[in-house]
Symmetry: C2
Subunit: 147 residues, 2 copies
């Protein structure tokens, strides 16, 4: 796994990252390294894209974590906690504009200089299914990092 780019955001430390990235609509710029620019062709037809990145400031992991706004410990795989066995992050963002190798997006919630691993088009599904969101149902949280 090697970075294909860098995500630029206004968040220098984890303390000021919005819990609900989507509500705050923070903008960010993704710098895809020039050698991968050709792979961005046709991406601009999608309104939303999935960013897969590395939690580069995360060290080690815990299998039980206490999420924000929650008193009881949850299994790490039922959360978005960055300290996971594989420190992979996922955020769905709104695509604003692609200029050469720079992608402007809205709804970022990762640290500045986060290494980007992959981009995938976002295609909604399960529109007519009954979605259950577990322990989150009582929280006022709709966090783009949950996907």
């Amino acid at each position: 796994m090697k970075p294909i780019g860098i995500i630029r955001t206004e968040f220098q430390t984890k303390d000021n990252i919005p819990i609900q990235g989507r509500l705050f609509k923070h903008k960010g710029k993704i710098e895809v390294f020039p050698e991968y620019q050709e792979g961005l062709k046709d991406l601009d037809g999608f309104s939303h894209i999935i960013l897969i990145y590395k939690f580069h400031k995360s060290k080690g992991y815990k299998l039980r974590v206490k999420p924000f706004l929650e008193n009881r410990e949850k299994g790490v795989f039922a959360t978005r906690a960055p300290r996971r066995p594989n420190p992979i992050g996922l955020t769905i963002v709104k695509l604003i504009k692609i200029t050469d190798n720079i992608i402007e997006v809205e709804g970022v919630d990762m640290l500045d200089k986060t290494p980007l691993l992959d981009i995938k088009p976002y295609v909604p599904q399960f529109d007519h299914e009954d979605i259950k969101i577990g322990w989150l149902k009582d929280k006022f949280v709709s966090d783009s990092r949950f996907g």
Copy 2:
């Protein structure tokens, strides 16, 4: 990056993988390695989960790819092609049951014995936004691998 488990499916070769996993509702079993089982706590409250895995049979990558049912080449990041700079796959599946370290799911579309890297809860969003799905709009495709 190290596997946290193995995804068991009926697909031994890429030739018989369904293009539209969601429509065919193929079932699969995820064997999470016992040392990570504790991290599955509370996951059973979610109806759908995001599987992040490695395209373990994929070698190398191409920045322009010709997807199934499509004549013109697309940028790899606008597709779900497995031959990507970082061979990371993503599928949203329906959770059926968790028994100890085994997760039964529906909607798999990856090869048997695919190494699992991460599991995240699926929480729908963008319900009221105008989603555009680019070159896919004319295809009869709603593939869970697009996320």
